[in-house]
Symmetry: C2
Subunit: 449 residues, 2 copies
């Protein structure tokens, strides 16, 4: 029912956001009644409401620690988010200034969906060096961050109702990406040393398995999978494919490896190179970005690399199509120009790595000194200490938070035996945390006894 | 079957991308056989293969014209893509240089998922002025481009199997976004003057209708919907909601208006302001970006604005959650800082608008001179002339392409009676196109006679 009776402008009405409309336009009083009666359920879909209940813990903790900082200032030690204070390589800053002062004419324009050709070429050269595998420009497609890259690959290769195996501990949002594609996640815990449990993965594979989603080096454990592990996994997957060719000869599909390698450069033991997924297994896709390696987490500058054994024009077209269907459109233009120049000029990563190593070593020592059990990570920017006996990960995180130390409970990474600390923070935050972490650990022990 | 027999390194094998692996790592010859037997169908999902067949024509034409330019150089007149040559407002360039030379410490960091608070505040102030409706910071959420913004809103409010009404002509990728959410698109043609056909929309609404997706000003027609049209539409939708409240009192849902307003500033007749969707109808969402207005199409810097009548924290949380589930994570950080500063300093849009107007008027005159029928658009950067009688839109586009003039057939916008020309190109491209367009139009007529 539409009635033309206007509001009469009481103070209560004036404070309502709709009053403004009502005052300026001939809107009826019934608007008010409609809106007052509208519950959230009639706005937000059931699926999104369900997702909301499982929203990223890490982000919530980050936002809480931001609030705490307003009242407790510099006493807050926020180890929640991988929001690095370490500077990008100097060559990046120089390239950014050059582009800003003397921008190419098309610097903010749409680029081809696959990205700036010269940047793809430059990334392919880096990857060829890092992987010791020949990778051409055609294998590399720019994407709006590694999360976008993962979603684009999954959308392209996952049939409806297929299954994706994810080894745990893992980045929790992987699960939401897969479920949003209406596919099923199968979690397979790693071995106690955080290596992949290849036998358990073999046991989890069935006819519907289409992708194994790895994170190498791993968030939150900092583990780098060994050559032996990846070759063993490859053998299992080749066997599976052989078997499928016998049982479904018309349309056999391999199980694809999708390897998220956003921490590849932050690798402390340079004497043992990270073994290449491409070298291990031909049916593989890699995704990465400059978010972590270059400390540009907010810039949404990622890429997909197709295994050189798989790449062809139709696959590239399919990935480009997914980039558009999913609404990503492309990767930010100016930043593509900046990184293109930066890679062209070359960059020195040693100073960046030294900054991270210093933080890792110091925070690791603090955790051991507090009596916590914590492996020294080979890579990435996280420490993943075991929770003291007798408290849960959430209880331990609460005890730490009471000391203004913010960490993420391991259950966010599907491993409640530990908590995660991102150590890419100011050194003085790390120093300041030492007595707080010790105290919270003592409290956890006292709680147990 | 896994065998350990290595390749023997013939020249043919050496030319295969896998040869490199095989040479450096103990990979078996059976790899070759596997890969040779792998068809695309076993890589790309059926859904993506189907999407691929309907991929954006505009992008394909853009990429073809890029190739043609390599052989025909400056003879190519590319009107395919809205890739503006007009410069962003001067205030933007200044802000970019300031931020690059003296970056805030967190300039590349993760920001809150909703965006930089001060930028949200500054955008809210602009929107309040443009809409003549009080809009608070809380209504504004940053998104990685307007396409991301549309997908985030749709993901948040569309239940499975619901329906979305889209008036045509429209931006073709809207359809792919909705279908990717497993919902149904209902196309409703506009009136001959490109106003919304409110009665036809009323007739298309059923119990499953959840969203009407508008583009105001419209791509490709340049139409700005009148106040009368929007108020009439609002009345229809309020009636629908009243009816639903009677028939499904437990959980009545309104039909939401989702208005894509990325061309709002490129509006030539400033004497008639664009009527605000928020003023017309409370159950509405607006999406926009700086892509078109500020000529930054490649930068992925968009936003959602929730109707002030609808905004609440749980809805904001739901939209943030969708931002993460869909893998967007957020809007690029540095560009948020740059635009924040630019809006703070204020910007003069008149010079930008003058550049567009000059191009619109000149290309419009050229089309009329060629004998084409073409309304003068009120807004945006496109001309949408009728195809000459007796040829299809694709045939006319082909005739133009033979003259090195690239346009997009109207069927890409669900209206095959016209073709679209994006006029945000260099003036000399527009001048150069005059005899070519005239010739192609004569050929089309000759073809008919």
């Amino acid at each position: 029912m539409w009635d033309e009776q206007c509001l009469d402008g009481t103070e209560k009405e004036k404070s309502h956001p709709l009053y403004f409309f009502s005052y300026h336009f001939p809107l009826p009083a019934s608007f008010f009644r409609f809106i007052m009666s509208l519950s959230l359920v009639s706005i937000v879909s059931q699926t999104t409401l369900a997702e909301l209940g499982r929203a990223s813990n890490t982000r919530k903790i980050f936002e809480e620690s931001n609030q705490r900082r307003q009242t407790h200032g510099s006493d807050v030690c926020d180890f929640s988010l991988g929001n690095s204070v370490v500077s990008p390589p100097q060559a990046f800053r120089e390239a950014l200034q050059q582009i800003s002062l003397d921008p190419p004419s098309n610097v903010h324009s749409y680029l081809p969906t696959t990205g700036l050709p010269q940047l793809r070429e430059n990334i392919a050269k880096c990857l060829t060096k890092w992987h010791n595998v020949e990778i051409s420009k055609d294998c590399v497609l720019m994407a709006c961050g590694a999360s976008a890259a993962i979603n684009i690959v999954l959308h392209t290769i996952l049939p409806a109702d297929s299954e994706v195996i994810i080894p745990t501990p893992c980045f929790g949002e992987y699960i939401r990406y897969v479920e949003n594609m209406r596919c099923k996640v199968v979690l397979v815990p790693c071995l106690p040393n955080y290596e992949l449990d290849v036998e358990a993965i073999r046991a989890a594979i069935n006819d519907k398995t289409r992708v194994i989603l790895l994170n190498n080096p791993n968030n939150p454990t900092g583990k780098v999978y060994s050559q032996k592990t990846l070759v063993d996994l490859s053998k299992v997957l080749m066997d599976v494919f052989e078997h499928r060719k016998e049982t479904t000869p018309d349309n056999p599909s391999p199980v694809f490896l999708l390897s998220d390698e956003i921490y590849r450069l932050i690798h402390y033991d340079q004497s043992t190179p990270i073994f290449s997924t491409f070298a291990a297994y031909p049916y593989s896709f890699l995704v990465s970005s400059f978010a972590k390696d270059f400390a540009l987490p907010g810039e949404r500058i990622g890429y997909i690399c197709i295994s050189p054994a798989l790449v062809d024009q139709c696959l590239i077209d399919a990935l480009s199509s997914s980039t558009r269907v999913l609404g990503y459109v492309g990767c930010p233009s100016m930043m593509q120009h900046v990184l293109c120049k930066c890679l062209e000029n070359g960059f020195d990563y040693a100073p960046v790595l030294a900054e991270y190593r210093k933080r890792r070593d110091r925070l690791h020592a603090i955790l051991l000194d507090a009596g916590l059990q914590c492996p020294l990570p080979e890579a990435a920017v996280y420490l993943f200490p075991k929770v003291p006996e007798g408290v849960t990960d959430k209880e331990f995180a609460d005890l730490l938070r009471a000391q203004n130390v913010f960490v993420v409970p391991g259950s966010s990474f599907l491993d409640p035996t530990s908590v995660r600390l991102a150590f890419c923070v100011d050194m003085d935050v790390i120093e300041k945390s030492a007595p707080k972490i010790k105290l919270a650990t003592q409290q956890a022990r006292a709680h147990h006894n």
